[in-house]
Symmetry: C2
Subunit: 198 residues, 2 copies
């Protein structure tokens, strides 16, 4: 088992994940969110799709055993272990515009979107291609009658994790989230580890 790598607060990274490898996303301090996106390493037009994944699962909250499908309906990742069970797959990575529109911030941080844009550029992936992310540990609570939702503190505690098996060769983008609501108003790091399948 390899040692974890730390993503510093309000930053992001990107890396290759080969078919069969297992990515563990760890919340080292608790109540932090990590936005995950994935692209087919051999054909960058294929990316994770919230719409297909949720549709085929017939549920909003994906957890252990659930596949994450691409826009071409292929399984890209499979969640193999999950100590939290509450993640979001509805919302886009926070961005300059998020901070302007939701937080009325006049000098906004570039957010997870900006961090993903920078991290994915060396792989030839442009910002228009960044899809709705699988937002690990993000806790979106929905009022069923109106559909109104709030972003609440994550249910994750220090050391909680979610583990994904790559079902094809992937480029992964991963962040330590920059949005106040998502993290219960404290910016923290995210750890991750890549292992061969057990």
């Amino acid at each position: 088992m390899t040692a974890p790598t730390t993503i510093p607060p309000r930053s992001g990274t990107a890396f290759r994940l080969a078919e069969g490898q297992v990515l563990t996303v760890i919340d080292p301090q608790g109540e932090q969110v990590s936005d995950l996106v994935a692209f087919n390493a051999h054909d960058l037009g294929e990316a994770i799709s919230s719409g297909r994944s949720l549709d085929y699962a017939s549920k909003l909250y994906l957890t252990a055993g659930d596949p994450i499908y691409s826009n071409r309906s292929n399984v890209m990742l499979r969640i193999v272990e999950d100590t939290v069970g509450r993640h979001d797959f509805l919302l886009t990575p926070c961005s300059k515009e998020t901070f302007k529109i939701i937080y009325n911030d006049e000098n906004p941080h570039h957010g997870c979107f900006g961090n993903l844009e920078i991290a994915l550029a060396p792989f030839g992936i442009g910002p228009d291609s960044i899809p709705v992310a699988f937002n690990c540990f993000m806790n979106v609570v929905i009022a069923p009658a109106t559909g109104a939702f709030t972003v609440e503190a994550p249910l994750s505690r220090a050391g909680d994790f979610v583990k994904f098996r790559a079902e094809m060769d992937l480029i992964i983008g991963l962040t330590a989230c920059s949005a106040l609501q998502s993290n219960n108003y404290a910016f923290k790091p995210i750890d991750y580890r890549v292992d061969r399948a057990g």
Copy 2:
């Protein structure tokens, strides 16, 4: 006011909608769904984004007054009138894979996705670019604790409509939906009309 155009059952179309024009999507018989996608006519990398639109609205069910944002956080469309108030912006257009995975159909119809692919091709828009659609009249009912959802019969009755104002020059893709659950197990047409802003 122009006469409506009919989209026959299980088919789709695409057309230009200029900034300031108003698109009315009409359910002529009731309980039918119409998947709508939109692209910036001058830069096809910009398309509607469920993730951004829902995030900025802080609700799942968009209706009159709500903007539909692009992946670049620009307003592409604004809902200006809505006689139903229940539409879906979570799920991808139904496709061959939808019918295989959800309905166990061995010889599946190509679905709204296939119809959009064919209709959008002459505009230079490929299938990988088709985003989560704004699914007019689609009635997705969510159990809040588990996030499990079901696709129920639309709340639309004959003549109900939703009206969108284009906030930029757009290419629109629009369908009469092909999925059984979405339409209460009856395939019906969709009507639409394009008018100058009133």
